[in-house]
């Protein structure tokens, strides 16, 4: 029975690594999404240019290609990242680039009358953004953001390919040692499903709290 507990331990250990990567990469993704998303609502071309190129670059290739590039090609130009750092930076930048569009769209979607009302109340640009535009945009961002966090979780198995001992990596090791391919893979499929569902549930709760007052036609106010 001790062997079984060894394997269970490996799975748990891998799960913990997966959670760590997901959480840290999510933070990176949120920062990337907010910075580039907000910058891309600027009316100045030169402010939009950099973030737009960044976002298009990361959306134009798959996370897997980016991860390999960061881990294997980047050292040739003198930048060596640890697997963990490469993982969270690439996953964060990749998902953050999709999030950028969510942020940009949500900000652009706040009705013009809201900005005009805050101009009429003499808010500064920063105050308009902070107290009026952003809180309303945030509500619109949450549902798509929830899906992006799930997408991010689903990208974490790629990090096993650059030697992170995450859930997938450890499960494949268990598979090798035990030969029970079906059990190993079915276990982690269910594991990922449960983690995705937990994210979906959590976002759903936050969404309901954040949309207080907005449920009956925010546009009509």
């Amino acid at each position: 029975m001790s062997q079984f507990s060894d394997y269970a331990w490996m799975i748990l250990d891998g799960t913990w690594v997966t959670v760590k990567i997901t959480v840290v990469a999510s933070v990176v993704a949120v920062i990337v999404a907010l910075l580039t998303g907000v910058a891309r609502t600027s009316k100045f071309f030169w402010i939009r240019l950099g973030p737009t190129l960044f976002v298009e670059l990361f959306r134009g290739t798959s996370c897997y290609v980016q991860l390999f590039w960061a881990f294997f090609a980047l050292p040739f130009i003198g930048i060596s990242l640890t697997p963990f750092v490469a993982s969270v930076l690439v996953l964060g930048a990749n998902v953050g680039s999709y999030g950028s569009e969510v942020v940009r769209g949500a900000i652009a979607g706040v009705p013009r009358g809201q900005t005009e009302a805050s101009v009429a109340l003499n808010f500064t640009k920063l105050q308009r953004f902070r107290h009026v535009v952003f809180p309303q945009a945030l509500v619109a961002m949450l549902p798509p953001a929830g899906n992006l966090f799930i997408d991010l979780l689903k990208l974490t198995p790629l990090t096993s390919l650059i030697t992170m001992s995450d859930l997938t990596y450890n499960a494949m090791a268990v598979r090798q040692q035990t030969g029970s391919t079906f059990i190993a893979l079915a276990t982690i499929l269910v594991g990922y499903f449960l983690m995705s569902s937990a994210i979906a549930w959590a976002i759903g709760r936050i969404e309901r709290r954040a949309s207080r007052g907005l449920e009956t036609g925010p546009r009509a106010a």
């Binding site: 009705p111 009358g113 809201q114 005009e116 009302a117 101009v119 009429a120 109340l121 003499n122 808010f123 500064t124 640009k125 105050q127 107290h131 009026v132 809180p135 309303q136 509500v139 207080r212 007052g213 907005l214 449920e215 009956t216 036609g217 925010p218 009509a220 106010a221």
Partner: protein, 264 residues
């Protein structure tokens, strides 16, 4: 200069959208404390006048003066230079606006809509802002609605909150752009009653765009009739409504009456 300082003055202001001239060298002056009603056909430029004053639209020619200072310009040497954002910020302090479609902040309660802006912009303490908000909500007859969100209010209630929100900033000049035209007919009077109170109180300079002719006649000191981006006729309400000098004014009033509106 007259003995009363001017609250608002337009000198030869032109506003263009591309090639379309919406205001054509328009001039007007409003002494402090005066209540002005702007009337005129759709597209004549009434909203544009208010939006320029609220710094929501730029101008292409002329100057706008608020309390003796240029709004869209700053003194520079002998002449004027385009206004900077800090200058606009300083000037907006004098002006408040109530919109046709309310534009309340949907993510804030009624109380927050009225109490937060003075805290954010004027640095009023929280306690003081909350107290003033309650007073203002009582003034507009919504003392009980502080905890509601805008989405839970009727149109008339929303507009009354919007008026309270604008008053909370204590502007010397208040702009109203058709404040009742988005409301169901039975809700119009409750908003007009609030406007009447503000007008009677007297100190505030008011510029009101409205299609409610009898109300304009009742509360305003002077009527401006706009057509095609220029002031066609102006005068005391009784003269404009009973004895208009200009053919275009007469025609406009006739249409209004034909549409079933009262002007007396």
């Amino acid at each position: 200069m007259s003995d009363r300082q001017l609250a608002v003055e337009f000198r030869g202001v032109s506003k263009l959208y591309g090639a379309l001239a919406v205001l054509k060298e328009l001039s007007l002056s409003v002494p402090q404390g005066e209540k002005i009603a702007l009337i005129g056909p759709s597209g004549s430029g009434k909203t544009t006048v208010l939006r320029i004053l609220m710094t929501l639209e730029t101008i292409q020619a002329g100057t706008v003066w608020v309390k003796g200072e240029p709004l869209w310009h700053m003194p520079k040497g002998d002449g004027l230079a385009p206004a900077s954002e800090p200058h606009l910020h300083a000037m907006r302090r004098h002006i408040g606006m109530v919109f046709q479609h309310f534009n309340l902040f949907p993510h804030m309660t009624v109380q927050e809509n009225v109490a937060r802006p003075p805290q954010i912009v004027l640095g009023v303490t929280r306690g003081e802002a909350e107290q003033r908000a309650q007073d203002l909500l009582r003034l507009v007859g919504l003392a009980q609605k502080g905890a509601s969100y805008p989405a839970q209010l009727s149109g008339g209630q929303k507009q009354r909150v919007a008026i309270a929100r604008a008053l909370a900033m204590q502007p010397a000049i208040m702009l109203f752009d058709e404040p009742t035209s988005a409301l169901d007919p039975e809700l119009v009077e409750e908003v007009l009653a609030v406007l009447r109170d503000i007008a009677i109180e007297g100190k505030t300079t008011m510029l009101l765009v409205t299609h409610e002719m009898s109300f304009a006649r009742e509360i305003s000191d002077r009527i401006l009739f706009l057509d095609g981006g220029a002031i066609v006729e102006e005068g005391p309400p009784d003269q404009i409504f009973s004895d208009p000098k200009e053919e275009r004014t007469r025609l406009f009033l006739k249409k209004i009456i034909a549409a079933g509106h009262r002007i007396d």
